[in-house]
């Protein structure tokens, strides 16, 4: 009850017309010294001038550049220099990367079993495809990577298709740059193919191969799609080659480690250095000296297991 009455009086006071407020306002006459006013107003004017100057300043003097770690007069020159460096690096490095890529391609020639039939046919012991060949990749001359759709293209064409009639050799739908385009030709005088099939069987098979090829070409009617496929296949093939090389290297390293471990275990590591020395001599061409040392070593350690590479190099049984 008392509190409610007090609240009512408080509300009355808050209305602003109480005698208490009037009494307070009568005595509220103090004001800050003029020096203080001047100092504060001067600082405010300076601040306002700074804001105006910032608004009218050019774009490169934006506040975050001035406030941040790069905030200085060097911001613009640094940015330009960075751009020049990046462009220069791109110009200089790109040709080098191309050269490396070309060298890698030449070194890592695709294995015949996953490339086009023409290269597959060039393997020793196999029938050569040339002017009188049965299958020829017309895209090779254009410098376009050969396709690797072994399951769809190379597979049926890897089958020997001799004695295909010349009249059926040229499918109607062909594009000059298509890597899927093959000429099917066969010498008329080939009696039997390596598989022992007759000419009629071969003709049927060649026709089916051609039909498969044509259907594949219909699936990719435009050059751009061919190029996209070719690029995808090329990338796949490259990755496959890299994987194979990696596996080979890993296997070789593992075998070398195993072999060295065996040698070291055999004689507590004492002969390992000698065998390495022998191997170094072999590498230097000092075959006779290497053989002499090895013979001496074998006399001391008849049970020594000579590593296969050393025995092969020194012709030791």
């Amino acid at each position: 009850m008392t509190e409610r009455k007090t609240d009512a009086k408080l509300d009355d006071y808050l209305s602003g017309n109480s005698q208490l407020s009037k009494a307070y306002r009568d005595g509220a006459e103090e004001v800050p010294p003029t020096q203080l006013d001047s100092a504060i107003l001067l600082r405010a004017r300076e601040h306002a001038e700074q804001i105006k100057a910032r608004k009218s300043s050019p774009w490169w003097s934006i506040p975050f550049l001035h406030g941040g770690p790069f905030g200085s007069n060097w911001a613009l020159p640094t940015a330009l220099a960075s751009i020049v460096i990046v462009v220069g690096l791109v110009v200089l490095v790109e040709p080098a990367l191309d050269a490396v890529d070309q060298a890698e391609r030449s070194l890592l020639a695709p294995p015949a079993d996953i490339t086009d039939p023409a290269s597959a046919a060039s393997q020793p012991g196999e029938k050569k495809f040339g002017r009188d060949s049965r299958v020829q990749d017309s895209s090779r001359g254009a410098g376009v990577p050969s396709p690797a759709p072994a399951s769809r293209v190379a597979q049926p064409l890897l089958e020997p298709v001799p004695r295909a009639p010349a009249t059926q050799a040229a499918p109607k739908r062909r594009t000059a740059s298509s890597n899927l385009e093959f000429k099917l030709e066969a010498p008329q005088d080939a009696p039997l193919n390596p598989a022992g099939r007759t000419a009629s069987e071969d003709t049927v098979q060649a026709s089916s191969a051609r039909a498969a090829l044509n259907s594949l070409q219909e699936e990719s009617p435009t050059d751009s799609r061919d190029i996209e496929k070719r690029q995808a296949l090329d990338g796949f093939r490259k990755a496959e080659r890299n994987r194979q090389r990696f596996d080979e290297r890993r296997a070789r390293i593992a075998s070398e480690r195993t072999r060295l471990g065996e040698v070291v275990r055999q004689d507590g590591g004492q002969n390992a250095a000698r065998l390495e020395r022998i191997r170094a001599l072999i590498d230097d061409g000092e075959i006779r000296l290497a053989r002499t040392i090895l013979e001496a070593l074998l006399q001391d350690y008849p049970d020594l297991r000579v590593p296969p590479d050393i025995s092969a190099a020194l012709s030791i049984q």
Partner: protein, 187 residues
Amino acid sequence: MSNDSIADETLMLRFSAGDAQAFEALYARHKGGVYRYFTRQCRQAIAEELFQDVWMRVVTTSASYRVGARFTTFLYRIAHNRLVDHFRSVGRRPETTVGNDEEGLLETESDIELAPDIQASRQELANQLKHCLDELSDPQREAFLLREEAGLGVEEIAQATDVGRETAKSRLRYAVISLRRCLERLS
């Protein structure tokens, strides 16, 4: 258009856009209140220092000013924080209670309006009121000053002093009652 009829918030936004005259108008409106807010709670020299700090802070934070409340709430919140920092730096601990005589005050059926028997002259009454203000606890005095100097309501006093509404209301209520009793005693 004169700056006198423009709202505080608009003037502050203009100043944040680089209008120095807007700040001058703002300063003219509120310099006395802020100054007295400090002089009623600190010594003169300290009050001037705190007063200058508050306005410097208003200047430097003008770029980030957004209209979320009344400008006076914004201004006196800065003043309150600066005062609290000062109290902490000198080891003075602002009282957080409304006083030990709360119960007695609640039992008193005091009239918040000054009694008719207070016949002192207005100036004398004002002087007595200043003396009575010194007897208030820090939070009560601050609440009363925020009401009188800044014209803040209970809700805004709560915001400026970072307390709940009921706390602010209670402080203001007991400040008024204590001042009334003090004036009665002095007269």
